[in-house]
Symmetry: C2
Subunit: 396 residues, 2 copies
């Protein structure tokens, strides 16, 4: 049951040395998805690399300014560059998160006036987006602007600035800086507020002529899985703008739920938040329902899960892998989707007398192999529903 | 304890036939406030006219489209014109409420396509604002836009249109129509949503260059008085735009509170919602605190109370006057403010040898009387803190 917008058809002509590979058995293998099945790739995830790459093809790396440049003028560029290459080398695109946010803003901004804070914010964006261009070409440019000017948990320079200049000028400033530093980057606006507030903000930003490449919808579900109805209702509202949607920061726990009265998730920090057998069954079921719902909606281009392993954020049992490194039922459940139901099994196909074979599958990347030679086919949005013609040259 | 921004000083030279009225005892009387102490002036209020005019100097009249023009092409212009003149004749400015709203939109809009709905909305605004120009020069142009495109309690044409064209183009369209029909009118954007959503909407509208003359903040408190802290926090957030603020639709009940779990006030309709002695004491206390807080904030220009008498909306005991027409403690409490603490007592003052007298009082209108002659002085924003010079010519 593949959603039709995720499937493409092509008529592939297989060639070797420009000649059709006619009447031959060739091996067709899917190697990647066009859909971005993402996850954080923070330090702690890297020991779990084998498990990580089984589920995911898209990494989000931490660029929290207060950590990245805790001391003014000493950015952690080298460390992050190494992390980014770790994924890039394995064919996994990387997103940087976030370039502007009031939370985890560096304390040293508080010594600056608003003009200086704005200049520092623009310079930081220009530096990171330039330095990582070609390695990281996707950014959560700004995070949680809905509450940015009224955030009152602690004093910080970004709230000062946003309150002073207003939300839309703030967004315009940071997007302009990122766009200028890397014109081909994919730039996201990201928020946790799924209310009409975020709609109003988006509409204002679009009316103001700021170009947004994709909308990020955070979806931490420490207080319980949203369910299909709420998820679809949310998608319905945010897909009205015709922009690609990324479900960012998804968490579904396999332990007890966070009490409903907690408003800021950061306020719930407990000593032990165990993963339980019942919780793990529930989580696996909800993961399948959630991924099916999102993959089933044509506006969604990416899902970024927030931490492959338990305990990564708020000590919550939100991972696919327990703290001891063993996979949970949710791990197998998601793998069954991304490498099973939504994955073309390795198939041997006989080409016709002109070297052609029909290829139909989940949009993504495929290899065709024959007698030690390999070629690559991208089955994607370029492929027409009626089946486009692609030539695949096999090379040794 | 008058808030200083509500007080003005002037040095008034009293003249008669252009000659100074020197060394004479003259009678100074306040006749009006610059601050708009408003209330609905819906049909049912008019029997209470004596009580109404003791408390209020500003009326809001109902222009709900579905009632005003329940049958397409048959507007209730004559009836509303009569109501508007009732107040206008008594020196009370009138606001029309509202020109565009999804609730109480006429059913016949559902037979139109979105282009036709837009044309009908613009034509309706042009008609009412033109017809009432000079009688009603203040309008709640559009109501509750935050939820307008996602309102799902019942199907209606305005939600269709707003969802189609977006919130800001909708606001631009209706404000343009109203502004064009009466360039000197005061035009309000009004909402009940006091969250960041309304902030985001306002910021988007202002960035888009739509001119708003005042922001309406609804403040129905059927679920309990907000308290000073929440009220000031709300004012703090919405005064950032430098726009005058009207507290519109204020209700404080003198009976039991509506349960906190009710989200839409319209969902709580009960057979009897009595006013109680304890509730009336509480209401009187809260009315004084609420009006003091708002009059104490320089951005607030108007408070519109929603119904002088109990039972006017949702059957709630929200009035200053009980259903039987007797005044509650809140009536006397508010009267003690607007005609007491914030009102210059009738005073006899002796003019100096050049006919001058110093006048210091709550911004508003004053008369000066002497030997059967009367003159009028406006003590308002034009008066400088240092005391401006005003000439007041007394006429027979």
């Amino acid at each position: 049951m593949l959603p039709s917008h995720r499937v493409a058809d092509a008529l592939v002509t297989v060639t070797a040395d420009q000649n059709p590979v006619a009447g031959q058995d060739v091996l067709v293998r899917q190697t990647d998805h066009e859909f971005l099945f993402g996850c954080t790739g923070f330090d702690r995830d890297i020991p779990l690399a084998d498990q990580w790459f089984e589920l995911f093809n898209f990494a989000t790396l931490p660029f929290y300014w207060g950590q990245f440049e805790g001391e003014m003028g000493r950015p952690q560029t080298e460390k992050l560059m190494e992390m980014a290459w770790f994924f890039k080398d394995r064919g996994v695109p990387v997103k940087g998160h976030p370039l502007a946010w009031h939370t985890l803003a560096p304390d040293w901004l508080l010594d600056l006036n608003n003009g200086e804070i704005a200049a520092a914010q623009v310079a930081r964006i220009t530096r990171e987006v330039t330095d990582f261009s070609g390695v990281i070409d996707m950014w959560d440019v700004i995070n949680e602007v809905v509450i940015m000017p009224i955030f009152d948990k602690y004093d910080n320079g970004i709230t000062h600035l946003c309150r002073d200049i207003g939300r839309i000028p703030m967004i315009r400033m940071v997007f302009d800086a990122a766009r200028h530093a890397n014109p081909s980057a994919t730039l996201l606006l990201n928020d946790f507020d799924m209310s009409a507030a975020y709609e109003c903000l988006i509409e204002g930003v679009l009316e103001a002529g700021v170009r947004i490449d994709a909308l990020g919808l955070q979806s931490h579900m420490h207080q319980g899985y949203w369910g299909e109805e709420r998820t679809l209702e949310t998608l319905d509202r945010f897909s009205r703008y015709g922009l690609p949607i990324h479900f960012t920061e998804t968490t579904i726990v396999s332990g007890h739920l966070m009490p409903p009265e907690i408003v800021d998730l950061n306020d719930y920090q407990i000593d032990e938040w165990p993963s339980t057998p019942e919780g793990e069954e529930r989580q696996a079921d909800e993961i399948v329902r959630h991924y099916r719902t999102l993959v089933g909606h044509p506006a969604v281009r990416a899902i970024t899960y927030w931490g492959i392993q338990d305990g990564e954020w708020l000590g919550a049992p939100g991972g696919f892998v327990r703290a001891d490194g063993t996979p949970k039922p949710s791990y197998h459940a998601l793998r069954n989707l991304v490498r099973g139901e939504w994955w073309l099994p390795e198939t041997t196909v006989r080409t016709d007398e002109e070297g052609r074979l029909p290829l139909r599958g989940f949009k993504g990347t495929y290899t065709i192999e024959h007698q030690g030679r390999t070629g690559t086919v991208n089955l994607g949005n370029g492929s027409t529903p009626g089946g486009s013609a692609i030539v695949c040259e096999l090379v040794p």
